[in-house]
């Protein structure tokens, strides 16, 4: 589907409390997360701390713990939580008819 939203697959292709990645040609990778309460979020796949791949972290509540140094990143805002400071770009994402749709413009902007 070509348009403002990129269809990246069925929501079940992302495990509950898990994440999948989308490589972007010529840009940085995107991570798409599915939480325990079945919400879907998308972030640039980089921790604001040392660029750790957030897709590989443990997802709890609406946060992900970075696999490198255990920073906790809010999935909705990309903000580091607690005493840590930093922010990862978020990409608008929605689920429609069981398909995960990623905002094209947001993806290009974040991955550039």
């Amino acid at each position: 589907m070509i348009g403002d939203w990129l269809d990246i697959g069925r929501v079940e292709e992302i495990p509950l409390r898990g994440s999948r990645t989308i490589p972007v040609e010529g840009g940085e990778e995107i991570a798409v997360f599915r939480t325990g309460d079945n919400r879907v979020f998308a972030l640039l796949n980089q921790c604001p701390h040392k660029k750790g791949p957030l897709s590989q972290g443990i997802i709890h509540g609406h946060s992900v713990a970075c696999p490198l140094h255990n920073w906790s990143i809010a999935l909705a805002t990309g903000e580091a939580q607690g005493d840590d400071k930093g922010c990862t770009p978020t990409i608008p994402v929605r689920v429609d008819g069981g398909r995960v749709l990623l905002c094209r413009a947001g993806t290009l902007k974040a991955a550039a």
């Binding site: 697959g9 292709e13 709890h60 509540g61 696999p67």
Partner: protein, 837 residues
């Protein structure tokens, strides 16, 4: 814990005792919650005033009857619901006659006679015989397999039935019936609940909350039939089913009658006391005979009969005040109800039938499954029903009992205490401070705020000390937050931390959680979080891996490992590096390799363009810079050369480092390489609290550095020295000597037993060195070296667990398992304006 009274009748001894003890004799009929609570209250006021004898029909010490539901559901053990153990009776000089029911009261002579023939004289008599389940007298009600839900024997009968599986019918959709149904359902029976009325728990809940409850129970797999009128229980020798008046037949091998209770008044009636629906008492709980008192569910006070626990506490206070000589008077109770079905929060209090002048304030949040209704009349709360979020139940109930004017709070009332008290900024401390002294903190054990505060000012400065001192928060744990706030309020920073909790999601420490997982037979992470009242929906990155490990350890071969609760390295079976690539370490048994393996490693390095290969400290080769997408292919190539995962990434057995030993070395005393390989073959693949390293040195020169390993073997001429608890990390620690053994097999057995002890008892992420410093090497020696039977049992459990864990995780991934962990879900190529799933 069973405590049987002597069957021997010895009136002479009683008489002799009486001559020695001139105090008036208080005889209590009933060793249940009311009888014992009354005695506790009396002892608190005037411990030496009476000589006390308690008769109990059940052959047990006093236990918390309202916690029988969690026992049935497998959430508690009997030991955990005991209120007073045998030591309590002994310490207070109380004679307990358990398992011997009183059968007659002779008021003229002031004596009681028990079933065994025992005769005892009293000065004051307290009747606390409680109530009996009401068995509806339909045909078949006396068939084997039809039971009530009243005492431990009933629970045992239900558990025996559940062991055989099959179907159960619970007649009665009230509090007790639903708790019985929940327990039987958790125990694996197919459960049908028959309820005569159109909605469940109609005496406590309104229609809307009853409907929400029904939906939830049905979602959990129970069949709920409302408006169901039982015609007969069918069966020839035992229960086979229940037939309704509309002809429906429901097959069942167990029928639980939970339609209600009847005060147990037979004894009092035969003694000629005034009896209505219950034994009639005045405000000091005195019956129509001034020498005889009565308390609990067996009494009728001002025309009211109670079947809940809270009124009982209030009656016992009034009774004790009277017995101790300063009567205060019981004025009746307003009751509230909580359903003890885990994961379903229901609260109700007072009157919610509406009627003249009653206003309803209702809040519904369908997506969160919340329904709240507060009924107000003349600016006072008269009733409250809460479903889904019961946090404010205590607040509403407190205002209801005090008849407080809520006119000023009217608009915010339904949003709860936090909002109504001040602008939405919830301050839990001031909320707790605002509670009145007699507000109930712990419903399970009937502990008021004043009692908790008194316990704290009496020296209980930690949660554990409060749990031990006044029993608040010691049963289901749902009031833990309130107790913690009371501690903070009273002591500020001086609150002593109990055992460290796993993380901020729970008030329990590692050891508590592990013990409960085993004791309650928990089988999944959500179950643990539910039963132990986790404060977060799905934990955090600290507790999830710990729970996953504890369950894995408790249920070998049975527990489905949760990949999303694994740290990245264990989920990816490789070590993540700072650039997000991985390093891969194939196993080299005992540090020995060969041309085929080396060639395969060299080929992988070239084929996947790995930037570096390094020899590790554990005598293996580490291939760096592998992308997660390439991992399965790398593993396939390594598998093809006969290599498996080295678990260099895991909280698990890492390496067994060896020196060349007697096969080559001129100083070697034993075959250290051979033993190292055999140890590694036995122990690889096992998940542990933390990483675990082993080494075998062939002589005391110790070239394999065995004395800084978790388990080290140093070979000597006479056999093998076994060392434990070494660590070469941030804090270097040399091993402690465990023992010396003479054969290789003994060395292997000790390794297996030690690892299993570590797996079962160390806390998650605790290496052997701090673990041994915590429990002491003496304890380890006692368990492993000195207790041959225990050692063999540990070894057997380890080998059983290993029979499920020695599958190469790489082989499964190479064959395509968990492909989604490695492959991207799609790709995005902006220039071609296309994407593919």
């Amino acid at each position: 814990m069973d405590f049987h009274g002597s069957d021997k009748v010895d009136d002479n001894a009683d008489a002799a005792w009486e001559r020695r003890d001139p105090r008036p004799h208080l005889v209590v009929i009933g060793n249940g919650m009311a009888g014992c609570r009354a005695v506790e209250e009396l002892l608190a006021r005037d411990p030496g005033r009476y000589r006390i004898t308690i008769f109990g029909a059940e052959p047990h010490v006093n236990y918390n009857r309202i916690m029988l539901s969690p026992v049935l559901a497998g959430e508690k053990t009997f030991a955990e619901i005991v209120i007073n153990d045998t030591a309590w009776y002994a310490d207070n000089g109380i004679t307990l006659v358990a398992g011997d029911a009183v059968t007659a009261i002779d008021r003229a002579q002031k004596i009681v006679t028990a079933a065994s023939g025992r005769v005892l004289a009293y000065d004051r008599l307290l009747i606390a015989t409680g109530s009996n389940p009401f068995i509806i007298p339909v045909p078949g009600h006396d068939l084997p397999g039809v039971i009530g839900f009243r005492d431990l024997a009933d629970v045992d009968r239900m558990l025996a039935a559940a062991d055989k599986g099959g179907a159960a019918v619970v007649i009665g959709g009230g509090l007790l019936g639903l708790e019985a149904a929940h327990g039987l359902s958790l125990r694996g029976m197919r459960v049908t609940v028959l309820h005569l009325m159109p909605t469940l728990m109609e005496r406590q809940l309104d229609e809307a909350a009853g409907w929400l409850l029904k939906q939830e129970l049905e979602r959990r797999g129970q069949t709920i039939l409302t408006g169901a009128d039982t015609a007969e229980i069918v069966g020839s020798d035992a229960v086979e089913g229940v037939r309704l008046k509309d002809g429906t037949l429901i097959p069942a091998s167990l029928v639980v009658m939970a339609v209600g209770i009847r005060p147990n008044v037979a004894l009092a009636r035969e003694a000629g006391l005034a009896v209505g629906r219950g034994i009639q008492v005045d405000d000091d709980m005195v019956t129509s005979d001034p020498a005889i008192l009565a308390v609990g569910e067996c009494v009728e006070h001002r025309g009211q009969v109670y079947g809940l626990v809270a009124p009982l506490w209030e009656m016992c206070r009034a009774l004790a005040d009277g017995l101790a000589g300063s009567p205060s008077g019981y004025r009746g109770s307003v009751t509230s109800t909580k359903l003890k079905v885990s994961g379903i929060d229901v609260f109700s209090a007072g009157d919610f039938s509406g009627g003249e002048g009653a206003e309803d304030i209702v809040l519904r949040d369908a997506s969160r499954g919340i329904y709240k209704r507060v009924v107000v009349r003349d600016d006072r709360i008269v009733g409250a029903v809460l479903y889904g979020d019961t946090a404010d139940g205590g607040w509403y109930f407190d205002m209801l009992r005090k008849q407080e004017d809520v006119a000023d709070l009217r608009d915010l009332l339904i949003f709860g205490q936090a909002f109504a008290a001040g602008g939405g900024a919830a301050d839990p401390l001031s909320a707790v401070a605002a509670l009145s002294d007699d507000a109930e903190i712990c419903g399970c054990n009937g502990v008021s705020k004043a009692k908790v505060v008194a316990c704290i000012s009496g020296g209980a400065h930690s949660l554990d000390a409060v749990r031990g001192g006044c029993k608040a928060s010691a049963s289901c744990g749902s009031c833990t937050g309130l107790v913690e706030n009371l501690l903070a309020l009273a002591l500020g920073d001086a609150v002593e931390a109990g055992p460290k909790t796993i993380c901020r999601c729970t008030s329990f420490g590692h050891d508590d959680v592990r013990r409960e997982i085993v004791a309650q037979g928990m089988r999944s992470i959500p179950e643990v979080m539910q039963k132990l009242h986790w404060t977060t929906p799905d934990g955090c990155s600290s507790c999830r891996p710990a729970l996953n490990y504890y369950l894995l350890c408790a249920l070998p071969g049975d527990y489905a490992d949760d990949q999303q609760s694994r740290f990245v390295n264990e989920r990816m079976h490789a070590n993540i590096q700072k650039d997000g690539t991985y390093s891969v370490v194939p196993r080299m048994w005992g540090g020995i390799t060969n041309p085929r393996e080396l060639r395969a490693i060299a080929d992988v390095v070239e084929k996947y363009d790995a930037p570096m290969v390094k020899v590790t400290g554990g005598q293996r080769l580490d291939i760096f810079g592998i992308r997660k997408e390439d991992l399965p292919a790398v593993w396939a190539d390594l598998n093809a050369a006969g290599m498996v995962s080295g678990h260099a990434y895991g909280k698990s057995l890492r390496t067994v480092k060896t020196c060349v030993g007697s096969e080559w070395c001129r100083f070697g005393t034993q075959d250290s390489t051979g033993l190292g390989v055999r140890i590694e073959r036995m122990t690889w693949g096992s998940w542990m609290p933390h990483k675990f390293k082993i080494a075998v040195s062939g002589c005391p020169r110790n070239c394999a550095e065995a004395t800084i390993k978790d388990f080290g073997v140093v070979c000597v001429d006479s056999g093998y020295e076994l060392h434990v608890g070494g660590n070469g990390g941030i804090k270097v620690r040399a091993t402690d000597l465990l023992c010396r053994v003479s054969t290789e097999q003994e060395a292997l057995d000790h390794v297996a037993a030690f690892i299993q002890l570590y797996r079962e008892e160390a806390r998650y992420l605790e290496r052997t060195a701090p673990w041994i410093e915590r429990v002491g090497i003496g304890y380890i020696r006692q368990r492993i070296a000195q207790d041959a039977v225990g050692r063999e049992a540990l070894r057997a459990r380890f080998l059983f667990s290993q029979s499920f864990s020695q599958d190469d995780p790489w082989a499964a991934r190479a064959a395509g398992a968990d492909r989604d962990l490695h492959a991207p879900v799609g790709a995005f190529k902006p220039r071609q304006m296309e994407e593919m799933a």
